[in-house]
């Protein structure tokens, strides 16, 4: 694989797992806690976020040689705000339920630190294609992360997963998963539907990730020590 293709691949893959904006860089946590009440809302937010970050990355990268250094941040904010406004209009027209469900958090994408961060750190220094891939990678990384929080909160909060409530073009159906103590499907634990539940689930996921990382590091340390011991023995 050529160096250029490797760079393209890196731009797309790295933000999905290794440098996940939400779980690794802990950015964009506000909407991740507020709108992840259900899988559908999380997926919708992820889609819109991906659209905004891709479009703003592409335009900023295309204009990077034209934008004066001294006023680059206001320029980035104007471009991001324009794409957020466009996204709001399109969502209000074609996905009104999603628009209502996201509320103010759709408009707040203007000040989302991932979008501005990618513009400043990547799009302003790289080609249009690489910036598009970076935007896509960050979008996919953020989308799967908030969908994971959303699915856990929806199952723990309502005991089921509902489809068709926000994306009304698909028929409404529910997949019951958890049963109440009396054996019926009338399960509900409203704390997980509130922002508190978002904090709890987000904290638990971060704890699991930290535990996995810690175990990985410990294993690497043991391996390194064994290699050093073997090298010392060989010298003797």
């Amino acid at each position: 694989m050529s160096e250029r293709s490797l760079q393209h691949k890196e731009s797309f893959i790295t933000p999905i797992l290794k440098q996940n904006p939400l779980f690794v860089s802990i950015l964009g946590t506000c909407p991740a806690l507020a709108v992840t009440k259900s899988l559908e809302a999380s997926f919708g937010m992820g889609l819109l976020f991906t659209f905004v970050v891709c479009c703003s990355n592409v335009l900023i990268s295309a204009l990077r040689k034209l934008i004066p250094e001294e006023v680059r941040t206001p320029c980035y904010i104007v471009i991001i705000a324009a794409f957020v406004t466009i996204t709001r209009m399109l969502t209000e027209a074609f996905l009104p339920e999603l628009y209502s469900s996201l509320g103010v958090f759709l408009a707040l994408l203007v000040v989302n630190c991932i979008v501005l961060g990618r513009a400043e750190a990547f799009a302003s220094k790289n080609s249009v294609f690489d910036s598009l891939l970076d935007g896509l990678g960050n979008g996919v990384g953020y989308t799967w992360a908030i969908c994971l929080i959303g699915v856990i909160r929806e199952i723990l909060g309502t005991g089921m997963i509902t489809f068709g409530k926000i994306f009304t073009f698909i028929p409404l159906f529910r997949i019951p998963i958890l049963k109440a103590l009396d054996g019926s499907f009338n399960y509900s634990m409203s704390v997980f539907s509130l922002p508190t539940g978002g904090f709890i689930v987000f904290g638990l996921i971060l704890a699991v990730i930290a535990a996995i990382e810690g175990r990985k590091k410990a294993k690497e340390k043991i391996k390194l020590q064994a290699e050093m011991k073997a090298a010392v023995k060989g010298e003797k």
Partner: protein
């Protein structure tokens, strides 16, 4: 020309160009979506009226005075011409966003609340914790709800104005 002046002119032209590109994009999307958004709003209003009085024939009334929240009033009759009740479209704002909703009033009592627009910070919380619970008959409208307290207070005030107007008309 002074190099600083030259630089200022360059920066101004660049900023103007970027603002122009953004304005053009927003203008194009607005032109594409403005009709659909307006249609969606009317459709939502009509669906709300149907949800409150399924078999009713709503007749929009002329507003005779200025209200704080009430925007439209419908007098609803059934197919035989018998009165079913009134529906009020109320809209209000607070520091957390705007709310627009339909309030049904029948025999001096508040009926269903239908949210048409809700841009409160935790938009869905208000619907789930307050409006749905009220519509299910499990809450008084005068109660406010934790998690959506400010939105709930605004809804209470809008519903109270609708009720007062109904009482003024009928009693």
């Amino acid at each position: 020309m002074n190099p600083m002046v030259k630089k200022y002119i360059k920066v101004s032209i660049t900023l103007g160009l970027i603002a122009g590109i953004c304005a053009l994009l927003i203008g194009m999307v607005n032109w594409l979506t403005v009709e659909t958004i307006a249609k969606n709003k009317i459709l939502k209003e009509q669906n709300g009226l149907k949800q409150i009085y399924e078999d009713g024939n709503p007749e929009e009334m002329k507003l005779e005075k200025e209200y704080q929240y009430i925007e439209k009033i419908w007098y609803v009759k059934d197919s035989q011409g018998e009165e079913l009740g009134y529906v009020y479209k109320t809209s209000g704002k607070n520091a957390y966003g705007a709310i627009s909703m339909l309030v049904g009033v029948e025999d001096g009592n508040l009926g269903q609340f239908i949210l048409l627009e809700d841009t409160q910070t935790f938009a869905s919380t208000l619907e789930d914790n307050y409006v749905s619970v009220y519509n299910a008959g499990e809450r008084e409208y005068s109660d406010v709800s934790c998690g959506a307290t400010y939105g709930a207070k605004l809804i209470r005030d809008m519903a109270s104005e609708a009720l007062e107007d109904y009482e003024g008309r009928v009693l």
